[in-house]
């Protein structure tokens, strides 16, 4: 329950200030419009563009909830409370997944329309949600590790890309398959396994990071 209280507090803060949400929406919308204007046939590479937009949007948005706690020193209040480091990380993951879903619910249909994609909208949305959640977990888990670094904004993408690399090809092929109404079980299992492994690592290392 404490995990949910932490996520609830972050949501309250976010919907009051709209700092991450507006930043993520603005960035992803601008990118979507730019790509649709610049690329002659964006439908061909829809899944790759979508992944790129959400990966960069995630780097901008998901890390801020932890960074704000460190910058305002409210992390000390959380550490002094009965929350375990694992509960703190879990609370942030829950918050970021809700944030991710909110942004994706707006941007995915916009990209679908802008890139003039034809295919199974529902299935591709669900499949992309699973992959995007995995990215959100990875960024959330990494952000406290880099939060005390002076060049944290630069370090996050550098450290993140090798970590999410295994997910990239699976996401692209899964979304492409989903658009044609198919699904490959082994790749979906891979995404779930990857999310599970990243979550487990973040829980195991939470004690050392926080």
């Amino acid at each position: 329950m404490r995990v949910l209280e932490l996520a609830k507090k972050d949501l309250k803060l976010e919907f009051r200030t709209k700092s991450s949400l507006s930043l993520m929406l603005l960035f992803s919308l601008t990118s979507a419009f730019l790509f649709s204007a610049a690329i002659s046939d964006p439908e061909e590479i829809f899944s790759s563009l979508l992944l790129l937009i959400f990966l960069l949007t995630g780097i901008l948005g998901y890390s801020t909830s932890f960074l704000k706690e460190f910058d305002s020193e409210t992390i000390e209040g959380l550490k002094a409370s009965p929350l375990t480091p694992q509960q703190i990380v879990a609370g942030k993951i829950v918050f970021n997944i809700i944030l991710m879903f909110t942004v994706q619910s707006i941007i995915f249909p916009v990209c679908y329309a802008l890139f003039d994609v034809s295919g199974n909208f529902g299935l591709s949305f669900i499949v992309f949600t699973a992959c995007n959640a995995s990215i959100a977990v990875a960024i959330t888990a990494l952000s406290p590790l880099l939060s005390q670094s002076r060049s944290r904004e630069m370090l996050l993408p550098v450290v993140l890309f090798p970590i999410v690399f295994p997910l990239i090809s699976s996401t692209v092929s899964l979304v492409n398959l989903a658009l044609s109404g198919n699904i490959e079980l082994s790749q979906i299992l891979f995404v779930f396994a990857y999310t599970g492994i990243i979550t487990s690592i973040s829980m195991l290392t939470a004690d050392k990071i926080l």
Binding site: R2, L6, K12, L13, T74, E76, K79, S81, L83
Partner: protein, 218 residues
Amino acid sequence: MIVKAKNLSKKFGSGYAINKVDFELEREKLAVLGYNGAGKSTLVKLIGGILRPTTGSLEVFGENPAFSPEIRKRIGIASHNPMLYKELTIRENLEFYSKLYGCSTDIRVLAEKLEFERYLDKRVSELSRGFLQRVAFAKALINTPDLLLLDEITSGLDISVRDTILDMLKKYKGCIIFTTHMLEEAEFCDCFLVLKFGKRVYFGRNFNEAVEILNEGS
């Protein structure tokens, strides 16, 4: 024994903020005295479970608070960092912490005692330094702790509010660890720990002796 520190050290970079400090505390009120950089805040953070010792051992209610959420549940902490969310109101902040500690303290009663009940729905970002300190103190009391840690809590407060807080501390039934620059504020405590450059230079019950040692060589 409520707090037991043995050879307690905390290192930041190449320097020790706390260097081999020993002390034991029963259900008493302890004043930690020292000038800037003596290690008072670091000691409070160690006892509050915010920091982990580099070497040595620290037991609060028999366990290291940094590794025990159950022990942290029994500790209340207020420092010059109020640990409050600026965009939330005072009520929302106190309710959030109350839920984290799993307690059902009446926030209004606490606010009335510290004279900020009219401001409960004000955002923390709109508060003055003095009000922030009061809310931080209320936050520390939210779980009615057995051990209250207060780091320079009276700095920046009006005399009347400062007196109210000191009066509450004198009547407080639990154990208190209190750091201050204002030596006269510490007089109500049962024992005194004097720190200089992270080292313990005095631990005892004589206030005058503690002040004398603190002022030696300054």
